[in-house]
């Protein structure tokens, strides 16, 4: 894991040439500018951002609204082309990959999936086999085994024959995760996957993700607003503000009270828990 440019950043960012062979995803000095009209000045810019993710590692991307978290995720997913810098997945630039080849390596879990017409849970999970199929992509027995295993791994095998619009939010997120696992990716990207879940379902979801990451050796990048959940489950965090990557490191090293207060514009308290993980609490203005 390395640092990025910014006012407060860690030293010693390795560049691509010195990239550790163990690194799976390498974001190298990546910048981006968004403008609704090419002739106008950009309304959002992402300044040069760098970090790396190893197999079996969860990296949390944190920051307030409009800090550029989702842009970073979309750049990694290859949906956007960097203005400068490069993003390498096992040595290949993600935005240059052919869509199908990319989907065989990168799976995305979004906040929720809007279905136009109702679908069964198993039909939804089998969609994850699409990048691996042949021309008309009729699924075979192997696909069924992989989809069944994916559902079992996320603890949702009892939902197989249910309709997607009949299951709870927490169950739905597990099913969406199962579809991502069915893609058999090497990199898992999650965009605020716990946004609409109650606290029990959030912990449940991230616990499952942590376990699967360790077992399957996925490289995981998760965008979230949940400081405490990221502090508990992420191996590294990337802290962002207004398109700048402020700091990259372990949760304990990044969760500094002054820094978090400046970024989130609110009074906070940061404690170190027994397990070495930080805990963030919001202070009343009178405290």
């Amino acid at each position: 894991m390395s640092a990025s440019r910014g006012s407060v950043m860690e030293r010693g960012a390795p560049d691509g040439s010195r990239m550790n062979a163990d690194v799976r995803l390498s974001v190298e000095q990546v910048s981006y500018a968004y403008s609704p009209n090419p002739s106008q000045a950009p309304i959002f810019t992402l300044e040069a951002t760098s970090f790396q993710v190893k197999p079996g590692e969860i990296v949390g991307v944190l920051g307030p609204n409009a800090s550029g978290k989702s842009t970073v995720l979309r750049l990694i997913a290859g949906a956007l082309q960097p203005l400068s810098g490069r993003i390498l997945l096992n040595g290949a630039e993600t935005h240059l990959m052919e869509p199908r080849a990319r989907a065989q390596k990168i799976a995305m879990v979004q906040q929720e999936s809007q279905l136009l017409f109702p679908a069964k849970v198993w039909e939804f999970v089998l969609q994850g086999r699409h990048p691996h199929g042949k021309s008309l992509r009729f699924e075979n027995d192997d696909d069924v085994v992989i989809a069944t295993n994916a559902l079992r791994q996320v603890g949702a095998d009892h939902l197989t024959d249910r309709w997607m619009d009949e299951i709870s939010g927490g169950e739905k997120q597990r099913v969406i995760l199962a579809r991502a696992l069915a893609q058999q990716p090497v990199l898992l990207l999650l965009d605020e996957p716990t946004l609409h879940l109650d606290i029990g379902a959030q912990v449940d979801f991230l616990h499952t993700l942590k376990k699967l990451t360790a077992v399957n050796r996925y490289a995981v990048v998760i965008v979230t607003h949940e400081l405490n959940l990221a502090g508990e489950y992420a191996d590294q965090v990337v802290l962002m503000q207004k398109g700048k990557c402020l700091r990259v490191g372990t949760p304990a090293s990044v969760y500094q009270r002054d820094l978090l207060e400046q970024v989130f514009q609110t009074r906070l308290m940061v404690e170190q828990r027994v397990n070495g993980r930080p805990k963030v609490s919001v202070l009343e203005s009178s405290e």
Binding site: A77, A79, P99, L116, E123, L136, F138, V144
Partner: protein
Amino acid sequence: MQPLTLSKVAVRCGILALILFVVVVVALKFGAVPVSLYGLAKDLIGVLIGRSSNISSEYGMIIREIRLPRIALGIFVGASLSVAGTSFQALLRNPLADPYVLGVSYGAAVLALIIEPHLALQPEIAAVFTPLGGFIGATLTIAAVYLLGRYHGDIDSKTLLLSGVIVGSFFSAMILLLITMLPSSSTRGVVYWLMGDLSTPMPPILGWVLRTGFFAGFALIYLTASDLNLLLAGEKEAMHLGVDVKKVQLVVYLAASALTGLAVSVSGSIGYVGLIVPHVMRMIFGTDYRMLLPASAFGGAIAVVIADTMARTVAAPSELGVGAVTAIAGAPLFIYLLRRRLA
């Protein structure tokens, strides 16, 4: 977990083909000259399996020259409209999308209306030029809606749908204007064209174009069937699952629009087929486009053949517009489907 297989699709299509065959035989029987149902079925099977090259001479001429060409036209028009509607619904992620909502049929009608009565063409020239005008009108409308519906260089579903609605309403106003300018003797023909008409004999070349166009358009769309399944969940999701979204959108949009243009140019305006049939087929066979597309093709063919048979027999000896029949049957059916879905 029982995924769809090619053999399941083939069996279900076989059953639908059988139903279509029965509907065709029954449709062939109805008409001014009585024909034996048994003899007709036997003759048709003989022709289909190549045992016989002819239909019984007693009613052969009526069947071969009048009823069969009209039914064949109905089959291809119905299948084209229904497949186009099914495709547009996935492409635009809107269950209300159909060729008529996108304004394509109105565009076709405007040009056909300008060519047919205003140029005072010879009947045999008009028989080719009117459909050609319709096709060009449909193509120009597609181009206009496509250009208006682009946002930052990409197809935006909502903008495209709204552009279709606006272009369609503009052309429908033009149609009303053109009708008021026509001599009263031409008005009846125009109204028939607007209500859908399968009775006008078609030059063989147009029949060939329609059939070839249908099979080519259907094949192009069917090759993207599993991509369309994913597009139902949204463009971003489809992209993350390996779909080349822009390519699929362009191919399906052009193919579905060509199918609509072909159908409208030879039959006029037959509404609701592209809207209702996909919904009914979805209720029976599910949402998988690898099954839904062929099912919609058969369903559309069956629906239009039945509607046309009703149009020519219900008020015999006079004829109703087949589009009027599909609209009268389709609107209440759609309300029923909508309420059932909400319940």
